[in-house]
């Protein structure tokens, strides 16, 4: 492999020198997952263009109706169109997932870099992170939603806070091992400043793992939102999400399972796809796996 130069792509800048082992096969799973995910994202993102009803419009006389030409998937306990709600609800669920992933990864990255590089800050930061990790995340999230009210942002915040320590630990461990790398020591010898070493040498090492971690956070955030809704601490019913559609429908599970089935199906497909892609990305990025394949 070493002999002939390989083509360079723009992705390389982000993912670094990821050499795909020659024997690495993508398999059909991740491809299906990617297609499903893209479809779900597109379908929910453009939902306002095609949904037949206002997802918020209630009609008490049309409650809990079965599927019909007007209501493709039937209606919910408020007489709202289930199809429209599921499609629009996906927007909010995905927003919460992506939002929580981005915010926790960003905050975790900054704290983790500081913690990994400055030994004085490390002890204090890690004690606080240990404490945050020790608090059961769902309880912390419920308490945070209770504190801030059930808005989308407060739910994202509540899901984000417990995820941060995990990102911090990940980033910190990557930094701790990367700072032992000879090329970092070479940079020190070359007189590079601390900030240059931190941002240009160490930080890029954390990108691949935190992108993977981000996908998992995204999936788990969507799931956590559903659980918060289930426990009565989710986003208000004014704004449909997969989670609160299911939470509202749980009482009708036996007489009208569609209320849980459709949002549940969308949610599970979506999370399944994200997780599968995350696994694939992890396998591709995992240096240990690479070593084994080589």
């Amino acid at each position: 492999m070493a002999g002939q130069p390989q083509p360079t792509s723009a992705m390389q800048v982000v993912l670094g020198a990821i050499q795909l082992p020659a024997s690495f096969r993508l398999g059909v799973g991740p491809i299906i997952a990617a297609v499903v995910l893209v479809l779900i994202v597109l379908a929910t993102a453009t939902a306002y263009l095609y949904v037949p009803h206002d997802p918020m419009n209630m009609n008490a006389l049309q409650r809990l109706k079965g599927p019909s030409e007007t209501f493709w998937l039937g209606t919910d306990p408020y007489g709202r169109d289930l199809f429209s709600r599921v499609m629009i609800g996906g927007q909010v669920s995905l927003l919460i997932g992506i939002g929580a992933a981005i915010v926790s990864v960003f905050i975790g990255l900054v704290i983790g870099l500081v913690s990994g590089f400055f030994r004085t800050a490390d002890a204090i930061i890690m004690r606080i992170m240990d404490a945050l990790m020790a608090i059961p995340s769902i309880l912390l999230a419920i308490a945070l939603v209770a504190l801030n009210g059930p808005s989308i942002w407060s739910v994202i915040f509540a899901i984000t806070i417990p995820e941060i320590p995990r990102v911090v630990r990940l980033v910190r461990s990557v930094v701790l091992s990367a700072r032992e790398e000879p090329y970092v020591e070479a940079a020190i010898a070359l007189g590079s400043s601390m900030s240059k070493i931190l941002w240009q040498h160490l930080m890029p090492n954390t990108l691949a793992p935190i992108i993977v971690q981000g996908t998992y956070i995204c999936a788990s955030a969507i799931l956590t939102e559903a659980i918060l809704s289930f426990l009565g601490a989710g986003v208000s019913t004014e704004i449909p999400t997969w989670g609160n559609i299911m939470a509202e429908g749980r009482m009708f599970f036996q007489i009208k399972p569609e209320l849980i089935f459709w949002p549940g199906l969308m949610l599970s497909l979506c999370i399944l796809s994200i997780n599968l892609l995350g696994d694939t990305a992890r396998d591709m990025l995992d240096p240990r796996l690479k070593k084994r394949e080589a």
């Binding site: 209630m58 006389l61 408020y78 209770a146 009210g149 009565g232 208000s236 009708f252 036996q254 089935f261």
Partner: protein
């Protein structure tokens, strides 16, 4: 594990397949019938109540579950029959001709659970503690000259001026009935919860088995002597036919219904109407309306802050609202709800529908818009509080918000858990600073059935119920009502109050709905009463 993953792939809808797969398994597996192993003792009734019991002091709180708990272990001096007429329970009563002295004589054989006899001193202490908490009680104590135990069996209550409804208030079952406790317990400050749960009622509280919010066990009080009279609503003899009653809480209605169908529980106090088909399909379960009066659901505005400080805008809001969508969304099946504009409830002596045609009709969005225009509504957002965790209160705000929006209101619906809501509604701050404009709640009809006890019908400003209307005209009407001596006069004044309340939009009645209880068929003789009580009821094999 392969079985498990198979079941995962089975969708909820593809039920037939999973049953087939399971049936195959069943052929090779010894099946233990779930019901058999878990059968309850025949002498115990396991009941799922509408909420978990957490607070044990029925005086300090108005929570219905605690009131119901009070009726299990305590007794009351006077109780109402189905015509709202006070009848003797622990005590016979007499009123002096001038209407100033009330004498209560305790009947024989009354004992507390610790074996001590119930004395007049116990009754006096209990009434005094109750009087500090209950708003009706406060009215009486405002004009009480003396309340004392004149001997072991006699309580003499002397007033400084006549007060016609005294017996009505003392015999009421909501919100806080004057339960009789031992004097040592009743001496606890009215702001502090009691810690000694000795009563004289037909059941004994089994403290060791109490798990707050989960389960509470009551044992039959063997020494309880019921009255001779047949049971009638809350009055009459309380004959206990079972050994133990166990209340368990099941926050998930679905779970409770399944448990009832499978015989794991005997009784379900509150049944979601939408789920009735499941129960109706089961031959072992009876579904019924316990209390024909039911509940009133209502909305209350904040009089202190714009825009609802303007009567025109309140009227516009009332015009905008229509009961049917609210009730249909909340209950679903029209058999179990009733459009009703009566402030004092439909089916009560003081029922009147004056001024509520639009409410019980389709609403009048056009009139609402016109009124808004006239009042010069500037689009100030209305903070509408929506509880997320109380099943019987989730629909009203959502439907009302839509109706208000359609009439041109700018509605800011803020979702919060019920506990946040009850805290926030006590705040008199501006809506933008943590206050509010409108919220919704439910009352049992007996709780609002008269101007004396209806918490909303009170115009004393900051001393009034949340929303704090300053309404001297209303207060005058109430004084007239108290002074009235005949039922006809009361009825006439009540109608004027109705008209006034709707005119100034003191609050918005959104109709009445019926609580539906369900029970196993072997649970018989449940009393139709506003309070689910467990005397008279029996469990057959």
């Amino acid at each position: 594990m392969t079985l498990m993953s198979h079941d995962f792939s089975t969708s909820i809808l593809a039920r037939g397949r999973s049953i087939a797969a399971a049936a195959m398994l069943a052929a090779s597996t010894a099946i233990i019938p779930a019901g058999a192993a878990l059968a309850q003792d025949g002498e115990t009734i396991t009941a799922v109540m509408h909420s978990g019991l957490r607070v044990l002091d029925p005086i300090i709180t108005t929570a219905h579950i605690t009131r119901n708990h009070g009726y299990m272990i305590y007794d009351v001096l006077v109780a109402q029959d189905k015509d709202f007429t006070p009848q003797p329970q622990m005590a016979e009563f007499a009123v002096s001709d001038d209407g100033l002295t009330y004498t209560f004589t305790l009947r024989d054989g009354l004992k507390f659970h610790d074996g001590e006899p119930v004395t007049a001193a116990d009754a006096v202490a209990s009434l005094k503690r109750w009087g500090e908490r209950d708003s009706g009680g406060q009215l009486i104590f405002d004009i009480t000259a003396s309340l004392e135990a004149t001997d072991d069996k006699t309580v003499t209550w002397t007033l400084s001026e006549p007060f016609g409804p005294l017996l009505d208030i003392v015999s009421k079952q909501s919100a806080v009935p004057p339960f009789i406790m031992p004097a040592r317990v009743a001496e606890t400050s009215a702001d502090e919860a009691i810690t000694d749960y000795t009563g004289s009622g037909p059941f004994v509280f089994v403290e060791e088995e109490f798990e707050p919010g989960v389960s509470v066990t009551y044992a039959k009080f063997e020494d309880y002597v019921p009255r001779e009279e047949p049971v009638d609503w809350m009055a009459g003899g309380k004959v206990v036919n079972v050994d133990t009653v166990k209340w368990v809480a099941m926050p998930d209605a679905q779970t409770a219904i399944n448990a009832l169908v499978s015989g794991e529980i005997d009784y379900l106090e509150q049944t979601p109407i939408d789920l009735l088909p499941i129960l109706e399909a089961s031959p072992d379960v009876v579904v019924e309306v316990r209390d024909p009066l039911g509940y009133q659901t209502m909305g209350r505005m904040n009089f202190k802050h714009p825009p609802f400080d303007d009567v025109k805008i309140r009227q516009a809001a009332l015009m905008a609202m229509s009961q049917e969508p609210v009730l249909a969304t909340l209950i679903g099946n029209p058999e179990y709800y009733q459009m009703c504009g009566a402030v004092f409830g439909c089916g009560t002596p003081l029922e009147s529908a004056t001024g509520t045609e639009s409410l019980t009709g389709a609403g009048d969005a056009a009139a609402a818009k016109a009124l808004l225009e006239e009042a010069g509504y500037d689009g100030t957002p209305i903070v509408l509080m929506q509880p997320t965790d109380v099943v019987t209160l989730t629909a009203q705000p959502v439907v009302a918000a839509q109706q208000l929006r359609e009439a041109g209101f700018n509605v800011d619906m803020q979702a919060m858990d019920w506990q946040t809501l009850v805290t926030r509604r006590a705040s008199q701050s501006a809506p933008s600073e943590g206050g509010w404009n409108i919220f919704f709640t439910n009352w049992m009809v007996p709780e609002i059935s008269s101007p004396l006890i209806n918490p909303m019908v009170n115009g004393r400003g900051d001393d009034a119920w949340f929303g704090w209307p300053e309404d001297p005209a209303l207060e005058e009407l109430r004084a007239e009502f108290i002074a009235a001596t005949s039922a006809e006069a009361q009825k006439e004044i009540a109608e004027r109050i109705q008209a006034h309340v709707i005119d100034v939009v003191n609050y918005v009645p959104l109709g009445q709905y019926l609580p539906v209880q369900s029970r196993r068929t072997n649970i018989v003789n449940m009393i139709p009463a506003p309070v689910p009580v467990f005397w008279e009821v029996d469990k057959t094999e």
